[in-house]
Amino acid sequence: MNRYDVLIIGAGHNGLTAAAYLAKAGKRVLVLEQRPLVGGFCVGENDTPTLAPFPRGILRPDIIRHLGLERFGLNPAPASTDLISLLPGGRQLLLSADTAKTVDSISQFSKADSARWPAFIRFMDRAAAFLEAAYATPIPRLPRFSLKEGLPLAQLALKLRALGPQDMHNVIRLLPMTAKEFLDEWFESEELKAAIASLGIHNANLGVMSAGSAYNLLHQYLIRGGWGQPAIDSRQVIAVLESAAKAYGAEIRANAEVTRITVENYCVTGVRLTNGEHLSASSVLSSVDPKTTFLRLVTPEPLDPAFVWQVQRIKMRGVSAKLQLTLNSSVHPFQSIRLSASSSATSSVSPLESVRFSASSSVFIIAPSLAYLERAYDAAKYGQISEAPYLELTASASSAAPSASSVSPSVAPSAAPSEFVLTVHFQFAPYFLKGTAWDDSTRAILERITLDALHEYIPNLKSQIENLKSLTPLDLETAFSLTEGDPHHGQLMLDQFFFMRPIPGYANHKTPIEGLYLCGSGTHGGGGVSGIPGRNTAKTILKK
C-alpha cells in the first residue's frame, strides 16, 4: 500500500494549486521541491525580495473560490497597479485599470485613440473571457473523440458564437495577427500602440511584427487581469497556496530533488530522489517543463521515438533576463523618474497628475515605439543581446515587501529602510547567443546595456547602486530548472497553443505513461502565474 496517492514534482504555483485541489478532494498528496524553499520561479534565490521571473501574479478567480484562498489570506480583488510607458523627452503614457484615468492620459497623444479606448477594453475583456474559457476546456485527442469528450468543445464553440458574429470573427482573426496589425486597426498613436504591444512580446521570442504576437498580447492581458499588474507579490500567492495545500492535508517536502520518474509497463510507479529514496504512487504529476519531464526524468525507453522527437521540438527559447538593483537612496527610484520628467518636459507636455499618485507602486516600461520593440527583437533573431532593449521596471522599498500586510512573515525580507530595490525585466537577451555564451563577459554586457538604458530616464541611478544582481536565461535554467530559461515552459505561439500544447495529442495533461500527468506551464492553459494548468490537471484526475 502506497503512502501517497499522488506525488507532485515541483512546488511552484501550478504544483501547489494541483496539490490543494487534490488534497481537498481527499487524496494523499506529497509535493517534492528540489529547492530549499517552495514557490518555483515566483520566489527568488535565497528569497530575495523580487528577483524572480514572475514578480507579481494573479490566480484565476475560480481557483481562489474553489480553494477558499481568501481564508488563507489572499485578497481576491487586489488593487491593480498602473502601467506607465516612459517616453523620450520626459513624456509618459499611463495605462490603468481606471478607464477615466487612462483616457485622460491617452488624450495627450491622440483624441481619437482616447475615444476608442473604452471600446477596445470592452473587446479585450470579451476576447480574454473567451480565451479563459478555452483554457478551462479539456481538450480531447483529435480528430475522433467520443460525444462525452466533445461536449466541452461544443460548449466552447457556443461561447464563441455567443460573442455575436462580429466579435467572434474578430477574436478568431486576432490570434494569428501581429500585435502591430491588430493595434493598427484600433489606434493611431505610436506611443499607445507600442505600450500595448509590449504585452505581445513579453517573455516571447516574437517581435511586434511577428504573426501570433497578438495572441500573446491577449494571453498576457488575461493573465495579468487587464491593464497594469495586480499589486500582489507572487510570493504572497505562493504563501497562500502553500498554507491552503497544507491545510487540506498535502505534505510538502523541500530539498527533495527527483532524479527519475519510475515506470513499469508504461505505468508510472513513483519517483526516485537524488538521495536514492524511492517513493511509490499510482499518480505522478510533473509541474516541471515537458522537456525536463520527458527527456530527463523519464528514461526514454518507454517512450515512442516519434513522441520524444516532438518533445525535443518544443520551442522554449527563453529571451528574458532579470536584473535587480539595490539602491542606496532614501528617494524611491520612480520619484527620480518624475523629477527627470518634469525637468526635461518643457512646456509641450504637462506632467501627468495621475502619475504622481501611483508612481511608486507602478510598473514602468521602456517601449517607446513599435519600431523600437521590433529592433529589440531583431537582435534576438540573430543571437544577440538587444542594445536598445524593451524593459519593464518595478520597484519597492527593500525594508518592506510590496504588500507587507498580507505576506506571511516567513517570506518578508528585512533590510535597511533607506534602500530600494529596482527590478528590471530585460528583453531581448536570448538563451542561445551566437558566437558566444552566457558568461561573466556577456553578463557584463547585459548589465551595461541595462544601466545605460535606465540612465536616460533615471539620471542619478548609477551613483546609487549598492548591489547589482542579474539572472541571465542560463541562470533561469540552472536556478529554476527552466529549460532554455523560458518561464512559460514553452513559447506561447500558435503552433504551441490549445490542442498543440505541449505537443499535439497531449493537451489533456495525460502522457503516454499511464498515471503520469503534466500540470506545469508548458501545458494547455499555461504561461504566467494563473494556476490554470494545475487546476485543469487536478480536475482531470478527479474526474476519473
Binding site: R141, L142, P143, R144, L160, R161, G164, P165, Q166, M168, H169, I172, R173, L174, L175, P176, M177, T178, E181, E185, L206, M209, S210, A211, G212, R313, K315, A371, E374, D378, K381, Y382, M493, L494, D495, F497, F499, M500, P504, G505
Partner: protein, 539 residues
C-alpha cells in the same frame, strides 16, 4: 429601366476574370469582360518592352493553375503549352552551389554532397509536404462556410469541413495544424541543416507576404506553393510558351470560343446600382453597360472601396475591407541581356561535380536560379523592408525565359526575369526615380556576386516596384496575391468574414479574384468557384 444587354459583366480581364467569364458563358450566359488596359491578362501578361525582347512582366511561372480548369476549358487546345522548369539552382557566395533537379537521384547526390543527413531527410520531407498539400487541396475547392452563420448552406459547409477534418488521420491533422501555424524557418530547422537548402525552401514561404521566414504563418505560404501540378506531376513548376501572356491567350481563346465578348481599354469607373442591386457599369468614358450580374475580378479594395459608392455597404464591412492587408512586398527586375549571365560555380570542385550531373553547362539556365543562400539572408532582407527600405541583399528568383522559349528574345540574346523580395510598397520617401534606381542597383550588385558578367550584359532594364504593379496592373498596394496569404486573411476570413463565399453585401455583385478564397498565384480557383456560386444564385 433599360433591359440588360448582358447576363453578366466581368470587370477585369486577368486570368480569374477570364476564367470566370468562360465558365459563365459555358453555362449559356451572355458575358462581357471589360479590361482597363489595352491588353488582357492583368498580372499575367507578356509584353515587348524593348524591340525583340518579350518580358513576362509580372507573373512568370505557372504551376498553380487548377488542372480541372485546364481540362474543362480545354486550354491546351486553345494554345496552352507549359514547358517544365527542370531545376532550381542556388549559387552560393563561397563559389559553391546547391541544385534540385528533375531527376530525383541527381537531387539526392547534390544534397548528399552538402549533408548526408539532409539527403536522407529530404524524401520524408517531400512526402510530408505532398501529403499536406493533398490534405489542403479539398479546402481550395470548397466555398468557405461562415462559422458564425446559422444558414443551412453555412451549416452544411461547416459539417463538410468538420467531416473533412475527421477524415484525416490524427498524425496528418496535427501535422497540418502545425504547418498552418508555424514559421517556415521552424519547419525547415526541424528537418534540415544545410543553410542553402533551408534558405531556398523558406523562400516559398515569404512570396507575396510581408513577413520574414522566422515569422509564424509562413509555413502555410510555403505549402500554398506546393499545391501546383503540371500534367498530373504534383508540385512541378513550369513556364508557359510565350510567357504568362501565353496562359492568358489560351484562356482568352477559350472564353471567346464560348461566346464571351471582350473589350479592352475600357476602364470601369463605377458599378451602377438600381433598386439595391448591381445592375451595370459605367466606364470612365461615360459608356454604360447593363447586366443582371456584375463580377469584379479586381482586388477587394478596388472592388468595394472604389467601384461602388460606400452607401451600399455596411460600415463594418467597409472597415474590414480597409483593414484587409495588401502590403506589396515584391518587385521585379526584367533584364534584356546581350549574353547569358555566368552563374556557373566558381569553386573547381563544385564545377566538377556539376559537370558530373549534367555535361551541358547550359542546363542550369533552363531552370530557376534562386539567390537564397540561407534563412538568415532572407530574414535580413526582410529586416530592411520592415523599416521601409528595399532589401540591400534581396531574395531573387530568376528565370531566363529565352532559354526555354527562344521566341522571347533575339537570337543569341536573352531575357531574364528577376522576382525580387523584399520591395516594400511603402518605401521611405516614396518611389522616386532615385529610389527605383537604388532598388535596381541592389539587385544588380547582388547578382554580380554570383554572375560577374551581369552588368556588362544588360542592354535593357525594366524596373517594377509594388507601386508599378499597382499603377500598371491595377492591384492596390501592388500585392501579387491581391491580399497577403496571412492566416487571418484565409478561408472564411478572405476577404472579409461573412463574405468569403464570393457574394458581397450588394446583391448581384460578386468577387472573383485572388482576393477571395483560396487566394493568389495564377491559379484560377477563385474565378471558377465564383462562377459556380453565381450560377447557383441565378434565377
Amino acid at each position: 429601366m433599360p433591359t440588360p444587354t448582358y447576363d453578366a459583366i466581368v470587370i477585369g480581364g486577368g486570368h480569374n476574370g477570364l476564367i470566370n467569364a468562360a465558365y459563365l458563358a459555358r453555362a449559356g450566359k451572355k458575358v462581357l469582360v471589360l479590361e482597363r488596359r489595352p491588353i488582357l491578362g492583368g498580372a499575367a501578361v507578356t509584353e515587348e518592352i524593348f524591340p525583340g525582347f518579350r518580358f513576362t512582366e509580372f507573373s512568370y511561372v505557372v504551376s498553380l493553375l487548377r488542372p480541372e480548369i485546364i481540362r474543362e476549358l480545354e486550354l491546351p487546345r486553345h494554345g496552352l503549352k507549359i514547358l517544365p522548369l527542370p531545376s532550381t539552382y542556388t549559387p552560393l557566395p563561397n563559389g559553391d552551389y546547391l541544385a534540385a533537379w528533375a531527376d530525383h537521384d541527381d537531387t539526392r547526390r547534390e544534397l548528399y554532397r552538402h549533408s548526408p543527413r539532409d539527403a536522407d531527410a529530404y524524401d520524408d520531407y517531400a512526402r510530408l509536404m505532398v501529403r499536406m498539400a493533398m490534405a489542403v487541396k479539398p479546402l481550395l475547392a470548397l466555398v468557405p462556410p461562415d462559422p458564425a452563420s446559422l444558414s443551412p448552406r453555412d451549416l452544411l459547409g461547416l459539417w463538410k469541413t468538420a467531416r473533412y477534418a475527421a477524415g484525416l488521420s490524427e498524425k496528418d491533422l496535427y501535422a497540418l495544424a502545425k504547418l498552418i501555424t508555424q514559421s517556415s524557418a521552424d519547419l525547415l530547422d526541424d528537418w534540415f541543416e544545410t543553410d542553402a537548402l533551408k534558405g531556398t525552401k523558406s523562400a516559398s514561404g515569404i512570396i507575396g507576404t510581408f513577413l520574414g521566414p522566422r515569422s509564424p504563418g509562413t509555413a502555410y505560404v510555403l505549402l500554398h506553393h506546393y499545391m501546383g501540378e503540371i500534367d498530373g506531376a504534383f508540385r512541378a513548376w513550369g513556364f508557359a510558351k510565350d510567357g504568362s501572356g501565353g496562359v492568358t491567350a489560351s484562356i482568352t481563346n477559350a472564353a471567346r470560343a464560348l461566346g464571351v465578348e471582350i473589350r479592352t481599354a475600357s476602364p470601369v469607373k463605377q458599378v451602377i446600382v438600381k433598386h439595391g442591386r448591381a445592375a451595370g457599369v459605367a466606364l470612365e468614358n461615360g459608356d454604360e453597360f447593363h447586366a443582371k450580374v456584375i463580377v469584379s475580378a479586381a482586388d477587394p479594395k478596388r472592388t468595394f472601396l472604389q467601384f461602388v459608392e460606400p452607401k451600399y455597404f455596411p460600415e463594418d464591412f467597409l472597415t474590414q475591407i480597409r483593414n484587409f492587408r495588401v502590403r506589396g512586398s515584391s518587385g521585379k527586375l526584367n533584364l534584356a541581356l546581350s549574353e547569358l549571365p555566368d552563374f556557373s560555380p566558381r569553386s573547381p570542385r563544385a564545377a566538377h561535380f556539376l559537370a558530373s550531373i549534367t555535361p551541358d553547362p547550359l542546363t542550369l539556365y533552363r531552370g530557376a536560379i534562386s539567390i537564397s543562400p540561407s534563412i538568415e539572408y532572407i530574414e535580413r532582407a526582410y529586416d530592411d523592408a520592415k523599416y521601409g527600405q528595399p532589401s540591400r541583399r534581396p531574395y531573387i528568383d530568376i528565370v531566363i525565359p529565352s532559354m526555354i522559349d527562344p521566341d522571347m528574345a533575339p537570337p543569341g540574346q536573352h531575357v531574364m526575369s528577376c522576382f525580387v523580395q523584399y520591395v516594400p510598397y511603402d518605401v521611405e520617401g516614396g518611389w522616386t526615380e532615385e529610389r527605383k534606381a537604388q532598388f535596381a542597383e541592389n539587385v544588380i550588385s547582388t547578382l554580380e556576386e554570383y554572375a560577374p558578367n551581369i552588368r556588362r550584359a544588360i542592354v535593357g532594364m525594366q524596373i517594377i516596384t509594388p507601386a508599378d504593379i499597382e499603377r500598371i496592373a491595377g492591384i492596390t498596394g501592388g500585392n501579387i496575391f491581391h491580399g497577403e496569404l496571412l492566416l487571418h486573411q484565409l478561408f472564411f476570413l478572405r476577404p472579409a468574414p461573412q463574405w468569403a463565399d464570393f457574394r458581397t453585401p450588394l446583391p448581384g455583385y460578386y468577387l472573383a479574384a485572388s482576393g477571395a478564397h483560396p487566394g493568389g498565384g495564377v491559379m484560377g480557383a477563385a474565378g471558377k468557384l465564383a462562377a459556380t456560386e453565381i450560377l447557383k444564385d441565378w434565377k
